[in-house]
Symmetry: C2
Subunit: 121 residues, 2 copies
């Protein structure tokens, strides 16, 4: 097999969807640089690139809520990624299992799994 | 309930993940403009904005492979969407059920559900 060449485009980043590999729940969407992808594949732990902080980060590096990556998929145009992960704790800094815990109508549909004040100082 | 105000940022677009509402399979990632979101909510059919063609499009408008939207979710930062859909046929123009039919290692993991030559003229 040959690696798929990911198209990082003009921005040098691609969006990556993190999905719970077991339950199928979509946990979050973040951005990935070539270095973040390389680190993810090397370590088996999800890495992303923060556009606001302008730096590589390992998910759960400070909170402990790491994502163990079972598989990295790429879409047909090779400009989006899917991380299939085992999520420790919750993916969202608000304490929810998934960042997608609300409908656009404002309905609260997600599960809160930790207290962010106890995790982030 | 009050609608969540989506942050379309400088580009005027947000990434949207389409997920099979029943199986949980992640089907595709595409971009959504304010108008595409409004049309999706009005019609119950997934609409996106094509960056390459620079136009609003309805998924399945030509192929018939529409997405009936059960729910639209928004993430914690309100800058990414999750469409939970019932997918007619396949989401991918290559004939696969999901656009994420390959691993980044080049392994073919997705299911082919239609012949694109028979669908797209």
């Amino acid at each position: 097999m040959t690696d798929v060449e990911v198209d990082f485009g003009e921005t040098g980043l691609v969006p990556a969807v993190a999905q719970d590999a077991e339950s199928g729940e979509v946990l979050m969407l973040a951005y990935v640089s070539p270095e973040a992808l390389a680190r993810t594949r090397e370590t088996g732990l999800a890495h992303y690139y923060s556009r606001s902080r302008d730096e590589l980060w390992q998910k759960g590096g400070s909170s402990g809520h790491v994502q163990r990556v079972a598989e990295v998929r790429v879409d047909c145009d090779a400009d989006a990624l899917l991380y299939r992960v085992e999520q420790e704790g919750g993916a969202c800094h608000t304490g929810h299992r998934s960042c997608f815990y609300r409908t656009v109508d404002g309905e609260h549909v997600g599960e809160r799994v930790f207290d962010p004040e106890a995790v982030y100082e």
